[in-house]
């Protein structure tokens, strides 16, 4: 029975693969085409004259007289219209010619490739740092888990959340000033060799590693509670190899997000590139986006899209190598936490601290300037010091809290909803996620503005348009694993239909970690909003919005650290609060009887069917396959849904 099922499944999988593979490929190409055309039409959609932006990029002092603009329009051939220009560019691309920059007139391809090289090496170094960071954050869980002592453990994660909430530019500023300038241990500037890589890699890798480490730490306890782990421990296998296999079990769930980080760090490390003066792709595309240097922008985005597609492919391949056979055979278990975390005081503490800051600051005036009392250190009159215009930092933080929190929470909620919904349609959303993630944030904002106009909701839309992608990737990765679990097979066998599975099995398993992930990214959302300010989107000074507070005090980070550290600290506090509070969130599992058995196939088949049945992964996968005991939760799940 089982064998026949398996061969049928395989045949079906093969067929599905070729058909769906082609569909996904076409969808991916459509997305790339839409994006490149969108960029090509950008100036005409936003009605911002490229001749003007190009002139200002070439020479900020030059007056835009009609003669000058006409000469530039003539030189660039703008009068031919966007479609003609786009056609010429694409035609040239076929011959390996990506055109010439509108600003400098230099060939695009060599400069983009050079920038890509710098960005890729920066990303690789950052990824190494992120790996170490994630490892450190998970070390305790791994240590306890391999010894089988996880049961009574109180989940940590505040440290990771605090670290994840730190803005990259802040870490970069501190490292450049303290390690680079004051101590002089490492070069703080340029990109000339390996020793130049360390500080930028730390600035990028620490927060990224914190996010990844937190997500991994979220999954590990579930892996340690799986039957194979118990069996392996009983068999007397060393804790080290159990820990290794637990990692192997959990990493595939993170791989899509890892892929997103790879692409995001390559194209979006603008702040770090600026502070350390690295000639990377982030700065190049930012400049091109602002100046509407379309050939450079198109080539840069195309390079990032190619990278995204490659990375996504590699992530899928890696996932298949790691747990492929188990995925195919539906022999996984849900990575649920073995026991609900107990009540904890941490979220209360964080919440109280945050509330106290806000309550103390609200009676103060956030807008009262006093240029004679600028950059004052913390004192009794100004507990958090003053900023560059002599305003009370505490007052600004408190008054900015409401705006920042409402908007960031609303955007995060919208991103969570979109992410989960689209994550349920992995074939549709997978390429979309890659594409959206590869688009530099400023370009995304410009494209959103092009579509919606610059209304009051535009900045929120622009951020939300990008923010859902990692959540969708996370959702579909978890769903893929969840669909391959034994209890789901059992439930299906007992006659549950797709809606039931989704409602009572899949979503309850997927939502809590994805929600925690969304909360972990909440501070980042607040920062992303502020980053769009220069396009005239988002909060305008003197509003005390938190992202804006950080941005306007950044130049003074060395002289008046309090003006940056205070808003960064409340953001970190917010992150820690969100994550610890979410730990308490348990998805309610309702007991309900299933309908009688009829159709069993869910309409969305599990992705990543392995067309080659050869078993690359060895022992652990077999252990998965052979795992029959159903301890604790798995058994409970099956029982709950059985008629």
């Amino acid at each position: 029975m089982r064998i026949r099922d398996e061969t049928m499944g395989r045949r079906k999988a093969l067929g599905l693969f070729s058909r769906s593979g082609a569909a996904v490929l076409i969808w991916r190409i459509v997305l790339v085409a839409v994006l490149v055309c969108g960029i090509g039409l950008l100036p005409w959609l936003t009605r911002t004259d490229p001749a003007l932006t190009v002139l200002k990029a070439r020479s900020a002092e030059r007056d835009p007289t009609p003669d000058v603009l006409a000469a530039i329009r003539d030189e660039l051939g703008l009068d031919a219209g966007p479609l003609r220009l786009l056609g010429q560019w694409l035609g040239g691309l076929l011959h390996g010619d990506a055109g010439r920059s509108w600003i400098s007139g230099a060939e695009v391809l060599p400069s983009v490739l050079q920038a890509l090289g710098a960005s890729l090496s920066l990303m690789a170094a950052a990824l190494a740092v992120a790996g170490v960071t994630a490892g450190v954050l998970c070390a305790r869980t791994l240590l306890l888990g391999s010894g089988g002592r996880l049961a009574g453990r109180r989940p940590g994660g505040s440290g990771a959340a605090l670290l994840a909430a730190l803005p990259e530019f802040l870490i970069a500023s501190v490292l450049a000033t303290v390690v680079g300038v004051q101590l002089g241990w490492l070069p703080a500037l340029g990109w000339y060799g390996p020793q130049w890589m360390l500080l930028p890699a730390l600035s990028l890798g620490l927060p990224a590693g914190a996010v990844l480490g937190r997500m991994l730490d979220d999954l590990l306890p579930g892996a340690f509670a799986e039957p194979w782990a118990l069996a392996a421990a009983a068999r007397g296998l060393p804790g080290r190899s159990i820990a290794r296999q637990a990692l192997r079990r959990c990493v595939p769930g993170l791989l899509p997000n890892l892929g997103l980080f790879v692409v995001g760090l390559t194209g979006g490390a603008v702040a770090v590139e600026q502070i350390f003066d690295i000639p990377g792709l982030g700065r190049a595309t930012l400049q091109a986006a602002v100046a509407q240097d379309l050939p450079v922008l198109q080539a840069g985005t195309l390079a990032l899209l190619l990278l995204a597609a490659t990375t996504a492919g590699l992530a899928r391949l890696a996932a298949r190598l790691l747990i492929g056979p188990a995925l195919r055979d539906g022999a996984l278990h849900s990575l649920h936490r073995p026991s609900p975390p107990g009540r904890r005081v941490q979220p209360l503490l964080y919440g109280a601290a945050l509330l106290a800051v806000i309550a103390l600051g609200l009676p103060r005036d956030p807008l009262a300037l006093d240029t004679t009392a600028r950059l004052q250190p913390p004192s009794a009159t100004h507990p958090f010091g003053t900023d560059a215009l002599g305003r009370d930092v505490l007052a600004r933080i408190a008054h900015g809290a409401l705006d920042t929190l409402t908007l960031a929470v609303a955007i995060s909620a919208a991103a969570l909803l979109t992410g989960v919904l689209l994550g349920c349609l992995p074939r549709f959303s997978g390429p979309l996620v890659d594409t959206v993630n590869a688009v530099p944030p400023v370009l995304a904002a410009l494209l959103v503005t092009a579509v919606t106009g610059s209304g009051s909701a535009t900045p929120a839309l622009a951020v939300a348009a990008v923010a859902w992608a990692p959540l969708a990737a996370h959702t579909s990765a978890l769903l893929q694993q969840e669909r391959a679990t034994t209890h789901l097979l059992a439930t299906r066998g007992l006659g549950a239909r797709p809606p039931h599975l989704l409602r009572y099995e899949l979503l309850p398993a997927v939502l809590p970690p994805v929600t925690r992930h969304a909360l972990l990214r909440l501070p980042g959302t607040a920062l992303a909003l502020a980053a769009l300010g220069f396009l005239g989107l988002g909060a305008q000074p003197p509003s005390p919005e938190w992202g804006l507070l950080l941005a306007e005090n950044q130049p003074y980070a060395e002289r008046a650290p309090w003006a940056v550290l205070a808003p960064a600290a409340v953001l970190a506090l917010l992150g820690a609060l969100a994550v610890t509070a979410a730990d308490g969130v348990r998805w309610p599992r309702r007991h309900r009887r299933t309908r009688p058995a009829r159709e069993r196939r869910p309409d969305i088949g599990p992705p990543g069917h392995d067309p080659l049945p050869e078993r690359k992964a060895s022992e652990p996968a077999q252990r998965h396959v052979g795992a029959t005991p159903q301890p604790r939760q798995e058994a409970a799940t099956v029982r709950e849904s059985s008629p």
């Binding site: 070439r58 020479s59 002092e61 000058v68 000339y192 240029t371 215009l389």
Partner: protein, 503 residues
């Protein structure tokens, strides 16, 4: 064991690939070696510049200033400390009639070894007039240059041009050898200019290498060469100086000036004036009495001290202390409108964030104006996305930092462009008969002292309308390492490194 060896091998194979990812031209060891080799004969200067070459060092755009600051290019004339024309490649000149000037070219050599001749000078100027878009110094001017005899060049203009020698000091009218124009469509200053330093290698927009030009007509430079790095971020640029990676850092931001040691940050008054421009065409500030109220509400010394931390002078007029003659000839505006109560008039104040001080200044202004009874809304954007809305009169007030000494080197041209009915860059949308007349009068005067008098009279006529409220005159801070001598701190920001600059 084998796998370890494999990994080592892979690492070795990968390392050249990896090194391709780094920026070249900054190899610390080779730079040190060069410095040692050159120590007997002057060492190399390391300069951190703020603006990377935007157009591949084309001499017709903003990169021209870069070339002249690094001592690569020269024109026929240059500006002296008083803002008058001084000899450069031209030894002397005389005005033949209204439209024609005769320049005597000095004996000099191009960096490619050929001689500077009147015909090569004329050809260079002809190339500049044909550039698209035309260099700012030549906007609206029809100019022809012809060799006249052995050592002279005759420059004629279609309209009388009393400021032609000033105009020719523009960095975009630099003289280059015939080799510069060989490739069609581009003009290359690499090894084709006449200055004390020769551009030898350009590494995209990150770095450039310059060597001393030994046959410079003004004598050999003391520094063996220049390693220029382009670092757009102000903090990073300052850090380059503080870590000793640079000897000279251009344009240290005000926020970083305090982090430099005593004597490292050198201040120069510049011709850059930050002013508040009021929309005289529409909105509340069409009423001159409200403009007067705004002017009276503003305390410029609070801006100079508070926002610019004392690295600026409170606004005196459209022209600041960098124009050394301006202060002595300043005319007090008379017949200004009398201020009226704003009574909560709501206005929109726009500015741009490309210069970080401007949003701060705008916030201080907001408070000052609100104290006087206005109700102010701020709008801050990136410059290119703001300008067309300002020109269209969408805001009531605009804070802008404007270089009052454009490429023409003639202060009257900024008044004509910014504050007359036909002005091409009239952000205040001012159209005032008296101001127009005063500017036209100044434009027609040829004698330099009288022209200066007429210029200040025109400034007063414009200030009378209250269309512009001068806020501060900025000083530029150049970071110069303690052991560096002879840096040229130029109020017109056209020179930086010269023959006497050394370390």
């Amino acid at each position: 064991m084998r796998s370890v060896r494999h990994r080592l091998l892979a690492g070795l194979l990968l390392s050249p690939l990896l090194s391709g990812c780094f920026a070249s031209g900054g190899d610390a060891s080779s730079a040190d070696a060069d410095a040692d080799a050159g120590s007997a004969d002057g060492s190399r200067l390391r300069v951190a510049l703020a603006f990377p070459p935007a157009e591949g060092f084309s001499p017709y755009g903003a990169d021209a200033t870069l070339l002249s600051r690094l001592g690569v290019t020269e024109g026929l004339t240059r500006l002296d400390a008083n803002g008058s024309a001084a000899p450069a490649l031209a030894e002397s000149w005389k005005r033949e009639n209204d439209r024609s000037w005769l320049f005597t070219v000095r004996e000099a050599t191009f960096q490619d070894g050929t001689d500077v001749t009147p015909s090569s000078v004329a050809a260079s100027l002809a190339h500049a007039t044909r550039a698209k878009p035309v260099p700012a110094a030549l906007a609206g001017v029809t100019l022809t240059a012809k060799a006249a005899g052995d050592r002279q060049v005759r420059v004629t203009t279609a309209e009388p041009d009393p400021v032609l020698p000033l105009r020719l000091s523009s960095p975009s009218l630099a003289v280059l050898s015939a080799k510069a124009y060989e490739t069609k469509g581009t003009t290359s200053p690499v090894g084709t200019a006449t200055g004390p330093f020769e551009l030898t290698e350009v590494n995209g927009t990150t770095a450039a290498t310059l060597d001393r030009f030994d046959d410079y007509w003004g004598g050999r430079a003391q520094a063996a060469g220049i390693d220029a790095k382009f670092i757009a971020d102000g903090t990073a640029r300052t850090n380059a100086l503080r870590t000793g990676e640079a000897d000279i850092a251009e344009a240290v931001p005000v926020s970083q000036a305090a982090s430099l040691d005593e004597g490292i940050g050198r201040e120069t008054a510049t011709t850059r004036t930050t002013s508040l421009l009021l929309n005289t065409a529409s909105g509340p500030f069409a009423d001159a009495r409200l403009r007067a109220a705004a002017r009276e509400a503003i305390d410029t010394s609070a801006l100079a001290k508070g926002v610019y931390e004392g690295h600026a002078d409170p606004g005196e007029g459209i022209f600041g202390p960098a124009l050394t003659w301006a202060d002595g000839k300043r005319v007090t505006p008379s017949g200004r409108a009398r201020a009226t109560e704003p009574r909560g008039t709501s206005i929109t104040l726009a500015t741009y964030d490309n210069r970080p001080e401007l949003p701060e200044a705008a916030q201080v202004l907001k408070q000052q104006l609100e104290k006087a009874g206005f109700s102010v809304k701020l709008e801050v954007r990136e410059y290119a996305r703001l300008e067309s809305d300002v020109l269209a009169g969408k805001f009531d007030a605009f804070v802008s930092a404007r270089n009052t000494m454009l490429d023409t080197g003639d202060p009257v041209s900024i008044l004509a462009g910014d504050y007359t009915c036909d002005g091409g860059y009239n952000l205040a949308l001012l159209c005032d008969k008296q101001a127009d007349q005063a500017v036209a009068r100044a434009e027609s005067v040829a004698d330099s002292a009288k022209r200066q008098d007429a210029t200040m009279a025109a400034e007063a006529a414009i200030l009378r309308t209250d269309a512009v409220v001068p806020l501060v005159h900025q000083r530029i801070i150049t970071g110069v390492a303690a052991d560096v001598r002879g840096v040229l701190l130029d109020p017109y920001e056209r020179t930086l490194v010269g023959t006497g600059t050394r370390r």
